[in-house]
């Protein structure tokens, strides 16, 4: 028989992960809901996932690539910027979605119990579906420009995705929990995400910073984008040190975010 014991809440423990596993179906349903709702509301449906990064790529290519002549490590600018955008948009949309997820689901949070960690996880999962669709376009562009990914990408790309995932979830959990207490966080966030775009080598190569490019390495998304280009477009050899640093930084972010989230989780339902 199932035994439920309720006690004053403690912080993170192994039970939390067991519980998330037990609720995996709900995780699936939340993801399914978000996806369904989003593509029902926009009439061009599934195309929207493609349209957004594609149009951004076109605009960036015209202004930064053609008019400003931003260097692109010897790769055609459209495919250069699209590779960066693909990962960047996965990160930024997952981050902003995650940070608002507790507020947008407050009617459920105050009425039903389930491990709250499910919500941020499901919003990242939704964004991952977008990512997969947008990635198909990259495949098409690579064929068009005649690029074949290096064999290494089978190993490197999943690692890069894991790093992006950890960065988005880690930061998102932290912001989501903060958002419950301070409701103006979500108004400030888009501004910071905008800023982050410009300090991440999405529209320009990291080499542009010259001898100061090591400063950019503090930004974990730089490691991701840099190495994605390396394996997909052959711009440089894979930088394992950078991957290692990014991985460690994002893992730390994820752990801190999760602990903070669990710490404030106990009063979500009372405050929201």
């Amino acid at each position: 028989m199932k035994l439920t014991i309720i006690r004053p809440k403690k912080t993170l423990s192994l039970d939390d992960f067991r519980e998330i596993w037990a609720y995996k179906e709900l995780l699936y349903f939340f993801t399914w809901r978000d996806f369904k709702v989003r593509y029902k509301q926009t009439f061009i449906g599934i195309l929207w996932a493609v349209f957004q990064p594609f149009m951004t790529m076109v605009v960036f290519s015209i202004f930064f690539g053609m008019l400003l002549k931003v260097p692109s490590d010897g790769v055609p600018y459209p495919i250069f910027v699209y590779t960066g955008l693909l990962f960047w948009q996965f990160f930024s949309s997952a981050l902003s979605e995650t940070s608002g997820v507790l507020i947008s689901n407050q009617s459920i949070i105050t009425k039903v119990y389930f491990p709250r960690l499910i919500l941020p996880l499901s919003s990242v999962a939704t964004k991952f579906v977008d990512f997969a669709i947008a990635a198909a376009i990259l495949g098409g562009m690579m064929a068009y420009y005649g690029y074949t990914p290096e064999l290494m990408s089978i190993v490197v790309l999943p690692i890069l995705l894991v790093i992006t995932f950890m960065a988005a979830v880690g930061g998102g959990l932290f912001l989501a929990a903060m958002n419950v207490k301070y409701r103006d966080v979500r108004f400030i966030l888009p501004f910071f995400i905008q800023l982050l775009l410009f300090v991440t080598p999405v529209i320009y190569p990291a080499s542009i910073a010259g001898k100061y490019s090591w400063i950019l390495a503090f930004n974990p998304m730089m490691g991701v984008i840099q190495n994605a280009r390396a394996v997909l477009l052959g711009t440089a050899p894979v930088n394992w040190v950078l991957i290692g640093i990014s991985f460690a930084a994002c893992a730390a972010l994820l752990i801190i975010g999760t602990i903070y989230f669990k710490k404030v989780e106990r009063y979500f339902a009372d405050v929201i």
């Binding site: 199932k2 014991i5 399914w32 301070y182």
Partner: protein, 423 residues
């Protein structure tokens, strides 16, 4: 056999914040620190050192209870007695501050019908989503899908987004999903307060059916004594966060109603306890006769006034006084509000009186809920659901009952105009 639910010494503490109705903004906190760094530092030090006394409020304290398998237990109590808090702790929505609860079996809760319903999704999709949120598995839902649809009676609109549903259809679909859960322990809040009477009956019937057949344990929170008496053999009465009484429903409900009767026809509130917000606060309320004197009993054939005084603190709103009259069983007798008027919004003390005409209310005990709300945009400044309790008695000298010496049934007993012709 060990009890299916054991509640041991459970307590829940809230910290009262003095800022009413608004959220903390990070911006304000930061500017606060920048403007006055020393005060902030002092406050933090005090808080860490434990000097700063936070105002605490125990919504529940030392609640102990054991519930056997198959029991259906009603939970009653006045507003703020801790009913909902207890339910929220049992469901796990909010953790207790102290104590422990052990539940043996699958737990499901129903604090609201249609939790997580999404207006853009179709009826079919919402059945799955809502079911999953309530804790049903996909397999279970697929198996029961036809049954759920049949019970709800919305087969025709299964593929229509629920935003196009009427509210009745919406509630029916939502309740059907909930009614098909198969937990060992079911926690129910006053969800039956929605939907039309016909459907409510159907739901109560369904609940009775499953409990009798399958030996389910149910905890049912309600204001509605009729529903409690019908469904629950046992009842717990919570008052001020404590269990005041637990036992057979008849006895508990009788004592509860008895207690409600002895409550006040004259009430006043002071300081922080006064209901209200930053726009208006309630000061006092009383039951009066036609000469504006406080009275302990109202007489059926004389007009009776419900009067309350409040203070408007801020201009720019038009708060309208309104009064809700309930029977002891929790049914609404009627609601009345003052007509909108310019003077309502003026800053200062106000006194509003609602006159209930003679020969309207039947004999019995009534509860007056007192409220002040701005209608557009809707904002409730205060609402004290059980502000006053008063008894209406028959004046024996002028009784209309003649020789009929039992209570005439009905919430109201108006003197109406009759036409009569001999034909």
């Amino acid at each position: 056999m060990r009890p299916i639910i054991e509640i041991k010494n459970v307590g829940k503490k809230y910290n009262i914040t003095h800022q009413r109705g608004s959220y903390v903004a990070l911006r304000d906190v930061l500017t606060g620190i920048l403007k006055n760094p020393f005060r902030f530092a002092k406050y933090k030090v005090k808080q860490v050192a434990g000097f700063e006394k936070k105002e605490e409020f125990w919504a529940l304290r030392c609640v102990n209870l054991e519930i056997e398998k198959g029991d259906i237990v009603g939970i009653i109590g006045h507003n703020g007695a801790g009913k909902s808090t207890l339910l929220k702790i049992l469901t796990g929505i909010t953790p207790p501050t102290e104590g422990e609860i052990i539940m043996r079996g699958r737990v499901a809760s129903l604090l609201e019908v249609g939790t997580g319903f999404h207006p853009e999704l179709t009826g079919r999709e919402n059945i799955f989503l809502n079911g999953a949120i309530l804790g049903m598995t996909k397999k279970e839902l697929t198996r029961k899908f036809d049954e759920i649809v049949a019970f709800s009676g919305v087969e025709k609109f299964l593929d229509t987004p629920v935003k196009h549903y009427s509210s009745g259809m919406y509630v029916r679909l939502a309740f059907s999903v909930a009614a098909h859960m198969e937990p060992d322990i079911l926690l129910v809040d006053e969800v039956l307060a929605v939907g039309d009477a016909e459907f409510q009956k159907k739901c109560l019937g369904k609940m009775e059916e499953v409990t009798n057949k399958e030996g389910r344990t149910i905890l049912f929170v309600s204001h509605n004594m009729a529903a409690i008496q019908r469904l629950c053999p046992k009842t717990m009465w919570l008052e001020k966060g404590n269990v005041k009484m637990f036992g057979k429903t008849e006895e508990v409900v009788d004592r509860y109603l008895e207690d409600a009767k002895s409550r006040t026809t004259d009430a006043s509130w002071m300081g922080r306890n006064a209901p209200g917000d930053d726009i208006a606060v309630l000061h006092s309320a009383r039951i009066i006769n036609e000469y504006h004197e406080s009275i302990p009993l109202a007489t059926a054939n004389k007009k009776v006034g419900v009067e309350f005084s409040y203070e408007v603190l801020k201009p720019g709103h038009a708060p309208v006084p309104n009064i809700h009259i309930f029977t002891l069983r929790g049914e609404t007798a009627f609601i009345s509000h003052e007509e909108l008027d310019e003077k309502l919004g003026t800053v200062g003390k106000h006194r509003a009186t609602m006159w209930i005409p003679e020969n309207l209310l039947n004999e019995g005990t009534y509860i007056a809920g007192i409220a002040l709300s701005t209608m557009r945009p809707l904002k409730i400044h205060f609402y004290r659901q059980d502000a006053l309790v008063f008894n209406v008695v028959e004046d024996i000298m002028h009784s209309r009952k003649m020789d009929f010496n039992q209570k005439i049934p009905g919430v109201v007993r108006p003197r109406l105009k009759w036409d009569h012709k001999k034909i």
